[in-house]
Every structure is written in structure tokens, then in C-alpha cells.
Symmetry: C2
Subunit: 358 residues, 2 copies
């Protein structure tokens, strides 16, 4: 239960999930690379950079760079600066980039790898729970001032090397953020995983449970990615909870809510809408209680349904100016539904009212 | 003899080569695109933009932008600005970009298409002879301050629409530049084409001959691209003449020599080296005479072999710090040869001496 494989149109790559694997990069990195360039952020550098460099000590050319932690590093300026460093360090087409960190590092360093000399190899080495999701599937991107992830590629890594041990250093907010994506994966594909996670108290989760949940989450992610690499069909189901989630993130400003916290609220909304559209009874209250118990921020302060709708409509997934939402017919049975503005706004208003009361 | 097809790992696209096809874009562009964004440069806009827009008049959303002509438009700033425009015009994943122009427009607009929302469709509509080469094969890129085409993707267009009629408006310098790439294609793959072109006086070339040469050139290009899309093997043969060519372009500053003029000198050098390495007798003098007759600038003023060598070594194709050159065992039989610095420099000095005497 330590390895999964992903098959894409251009390669097949392994996902290694192991405690303390950061000390064994040398076992997974070919000696043939002309140079290795590790990209990481301040927080992760302090904790794990030396371990990784040490494990690669036998390689003659290992460079690194440390970027500021946080979403602002996914800028065109940071992107260009990494390209400059890659050139100055003498990287060529036979070189490797290692993205050591969370989603920001993975997205940015992955997009640099995708476009440096028209594409070189890279390894995703996630150090957050949230990045179990973003590190698999080859979506890499930077932000545009007008929207998140608007500039990027589909470009799979050559491997994902995931040291579960590094998750021990995560603050509670980051654990919440990561678990929201696990809950999402469960809701669209695995009722049992959903029920298991609903039994967990996040500040008491054991390493064994964490590894188990992440493994099952990645397995689901892998399935959707393999079936639909370029997000022309079912991969879109992975956006469950993200329509409102992204809108909340940008409305409140990135950093107020974590990505997962925003998605958590988005999932409650998507379940509410699903119940209304399909007249079914998804366990919204079970999820709401679990989120509350685990200190997810669930209050929508001073939020305006019209503004949210307009945010939702600027998403990449909009088609012909209509919002497309992933809804659930039941747990494990997602569908993509196009909703008109009026209906969305009505649902939003109901939802905001309900949230304010809780 | 108006259409060729290219099969890639991700799609299959047609190359339409026809006189006045710019008036018939509507026949080749699906009505289903949510929006169409034409990118062109000042020179081409004045001549052909209205024709293309007119032919798309029945489409409800057609936008355009005009960039400055010339290599400086392949900058990160111009790239980001096009992304901004694409967002502001409301392009989404179902939209189309048309690159109407020469290699600069094709490379830049193609890279925007490759990375806008992780990749949307685009059409290459070349308007120069040189772009018969760059528009086929999916290489898109912008320049980095430290080197040409260092940031880019392999990203095939959905079609190439090539209006031979637009080549009538090209200045002599551009005709020379384009024909150098046709000669290159001939030398690596088609002796007959080489002999045919050697019979032509470029300022008297007929439309029929031009179409014939371009068609045969693209056919060769297509062959190498299909066999080796990501340039891991034989596609590198298309760089015949480019090792010294690129070095000359950057040494003299882009714009002094056109790309093709630099490649022409590079081919003479590569043939000289081939003759030395393989003790054979390629028709260097035939080519030199033809180049002279057609006013290619063949004098290497104030050039220094050490500087050139260092330029050659900063190329993307360098492997383990050794220059790799495409040489010819005979016409149509290219090989990739790694040369050490000493040998390269010796060849360069001989070549510079010989060029100065002519």
C-alpha cells in the first residue's frame, strides 16, 4: 500500500507514499540527470530541504531555490525568476526539477518544468495534505492578476514522492484544508471513505489513518485523471464544492480562508443544491456537524449573492456564460449540471441565510 | 496537392496550402468556438487582417490584437499582455486563437494558446515563407533575456492555413530567409529538391514553383515531426545549419541577419565540417554560389571563433556541455555528431578565414 501508478497520454508515473521517504530521494532519482534543481518555500526549506539535499549528496549538481511561502509566489514574476535561475544554473533538457512543498510550490515549479526548454522532467514532493490532490494529475499553473490558475499546462510529473512524516509539522488550519479535499474525493466516489472520515477527530488523527485516507483519496483522484487527463469530461467531477469554493476564496481574498476551508463551504452548498434539484437527502447535516466539530469556519460574513455569482461566472469551467456545478445524485454518483443565473442566486440566498443562522 | 496531414500524440491536424485561402477561413473554422481571437502584427494587419475578419463575419465573437512586428514581441511582457486580453475578451476553454503572421506571431500566439487555461485550440496562419517551417510541428515559445525560445511548449495547432498568395508581399530579405529553410529541408532529406532550388533565381520565382517548394519542404518537416514529436531523436536533424546559425544571430544581434540568412551561413559551415569529418565532397560550392547569386550576406565581419563557440554552447541542444552538430554523410543522410571544443574551434577558424576571402 505504498505505491500507485498513473498512466497518462505521455508517460506512466509512480506515486510513492512512505514515511521518511525524503531521506531516500537518491533511490528514486536517476543518476543520469545533468542537474537537479530543488524548488521549495521558506517554511519547508527550514524543515526538510537539508534532508532532501543530503539524500542527493552523491549527485554532482544539485541546486535549490527558496521562494516566499504563499499564493503570491504563483506570479508571472516569480515564474520568470525561476526560469532565469534554471538557465543560470546551467539546467538543460536532461535536467530535473523537484517541487518540494505544498500546492503553490508544485504548481509553480511544475509550470516552470513544463515550459523550460519546452519541458523537462520534474518530481512532485508534496509536504501538505492538500497537495495529495494537486500533486497528482499534472495540472500546473500560475495566477493571472485577473484570476487564479489561468496560465498553465497539463504536464505530468515523472514521479510523486510523498513523505507522510512531513505532515506532522502542519498547523491545524492546513490539516483542515487538506482533509476537505479528501472528503470531496469521498463524496464523489467512495461512501465508505466518507463514513470513515466522519468518524475522525482531526486533531487526534493517527499517522496510520492519515496514510490510509490519503492513499484512498489519491486512488480516487488517479482514477478520474486517468480516465480524463485534459478535463474534457469526468475529471470535472473533482471540482465538486469548488464552484462556490473558488468564488469565496477570491471574494474574501486569498489567505483569509484556506483553499480547503472554502471548498468545505462549497461542498455544503453543492449538497444543498443537489438535494433541491434531485429531491434527495444527502447527509448535509452529518458533514456540517463534522466540519463544525473540527473548527472549519462556516460563517459567511457580509457576503453578497450577486457578487458571488459574478465570481462563479469568471471560473475556467464556465461554458457559454452558464455556471456548471458538480452535483450529487447520491454519494459516489456525481453529475455536471448547468444552472441558470436566477436559480443559482436563489440557491445562494437560501444557503447564505441558513449559514448565518448556524 | 493542397493538403497534408500531421499526426501527433494528441491530435491530427491538416495543413491547407492554397492561394487566397485567407478569404475562406469560415470553411475551416468550426462555428462552435465560443470566441475567436486573432493575433497578428502591424505589417500583416495592414495587408490581410480585414480579409480574415471578413471571412469570419458570420461568427458572433471575433476579436483581434496587433503586436509590434519583430523578435522583441516574443517577450514575457507581450505574452502576459496577450493573456490579459484573452481574459478581458472573455475567451474560455472553448475558444480559438488564430496566429496570423510570421514565426514571431506563430510562436507567441501559439504559446499563449498552449497555456491559456491550460491550453486552447489555435490555428497557424503563416504569411511568410520562413513560417512554413515554424508553423508546422507544434514548437511554440517566447524568448528569455538570456536566450532565444527558452520558454515554451510542444503544442500542436488544430490546423495550418497557409495562403501562398500572401507571400507576394514579402521583401527580398524575407524570401531569402524562408528559402534557406527549404534548402535545409532539401539537404537533410531530398536531393532532388536541393537540385531544383539551386536552379531558381529567387527574385524570379513563380507562384507555382514557390508552392511546389513549400509543399515539398513541409512534407519533409512533417515526416521528421511525426517520427519524433518531442525532439528526442531525428527531429534534431531539422537543426542542420542552426548550431552556427543561432550563434550568429545572437552574436550580431537579432535583426542584423535574418534567421534564414544566419542559417545559410550555418549550412555552409556544417557542410564544411561534414566534408572534413567524413572525407566526402558535399556540393558546398554549388550552395555558396547560389547563395551569392541570390544576395545572401556571406561575410563574417569582426567575428571571433571563441565567442561563437561560447554562443554555440548555450544552445538548448547542448548535451553534457558538448556541442552537438547535425552533419551530412551525404545529401539526405544526416547524423548527429558530438564535437569537442578544440575541434569546433579549429573548424570555425578555417571557416571564418575562408569566408573572409570570398
Amino acid at each position: 500500500m505504498a505505491q500507485l501508478d498513473v498512466e497518462t497520454s505521455v508517460n506512466k508515473y509512480p506515486i510513492h507514499i512512505l514515511e521518511n521517504i525524503r531521506h531516500q530521494f537518491n533511490q528514486y532519482v536517476s543518476k543520469d540527470y545533468s542537474a537537479i534543481f530543488i524548488v521549495t518555500d521558506e517554511r519547508v526549506a527550514n524543515l526538510y530541504l537539508e534532508d532532501v539535499k543530503e539524500s542527493l549528496a552523491s549527485h554532482p549538481k544539485v541546486f535549490h531555490t527558496v521562494i516566499p511561502a504563499g499564493e503570491q509566489s504563483k506570479s508571472i514574476e516569480a515564474y520568470y525568476q525561476l526560469q532565469t535561475q534554471a538557465i543560470e544554473y546551467g539546467l538543460d533538457r536532461q535536467s530535473l526539477i523537484i517541487a518540494l512543498g505544498g500546492g503553490v510550490v508544485g504548481d509553480l515549479a511544475g509550470f516552470v518544468a513544463a515550459t523550460f526548454m519546452r519541458g523537462i522532467d520534474y518530481i512532485q514532493a508534496p509536504t501538505t495534505i492538500l497537495a495529495h490532490d494537486s500533486s497528482v494529475g499534472g495540472k500546473v499553473a500560475i495566477n493571472h492578476a485577473l484570476g487564479k490558475n489561468l496560465i498553465g499546462n497539463f504536464y505530468p510529473p515523472v514521479a510523486v514522492i510523498y513523505d507522510i512524516q512531513t505532515l506532522q509539522s502542519l498547523p491545524a488550519k492546513e490539516i483542515r484544508s487538506g482533509y476537505a479535499e479528501i472528503v470531496k474525493e469521498a463524496l464523489i466516489a467512495d461512501k465508505e471513505l466518507f463514513e470513515d472520515v466522519m468518524q475522525e477527530k482531526l486533531n487526534q488523527v493517527t499517522n496510520a489513518s492519515l496514510r490510509d485516507h490519503i492513499f484512498r483519496g489519491i486512488k480516487i483522484k488517479t482514477h478520474f485523471v486517468q480516465e480524463d487527463e485534459k478535463e474534457k469530461g469526468i475529471r470535472a467531477f473533482l471540482n465538486f464544492g469548488h464552484t462556490l469554493g473558488h468564488a469565496l476564496e477570491s471574494e474574501y481574498g486569498y489567505g483569509t480562508l484556506t483553499h480547503g476551508e472554502a471548498v468545505a463551504i462549497g461542498m455544503l452548498f453543492a449538497m444543498d443544491v443537489s438535494n433541491a434539484v434531485f429531491s434527495n437527502c444527502l447527509p448535509v447535516e452529518t458533514l456540517r456537524k463534522w466540519l463544525n466539530l473540527n473548527s472549519y469556519p462556516l460563517v459567511l460574513d457580509e457576503i453578497n449573492s450577486e457578487k458571488l455569482l459574478s465570481r462563479m461566472k469568471s471560473d475556467k469551467k464556465v461554458s457559454n456564460n452558464h455556471v456548471q456545478m458538480v452535483l450529487l445524485k447520491e454519494i459516489g454518483n456525481p453529475v455536471l449540471v448547468e444552472l441558470n443565473d436566477e436559480d443559482i442566486q436563489k440557491h445562494l440566498e437560501n444557503f447564505i441565510n441558513k449559514m448565518m443562522k448556524n
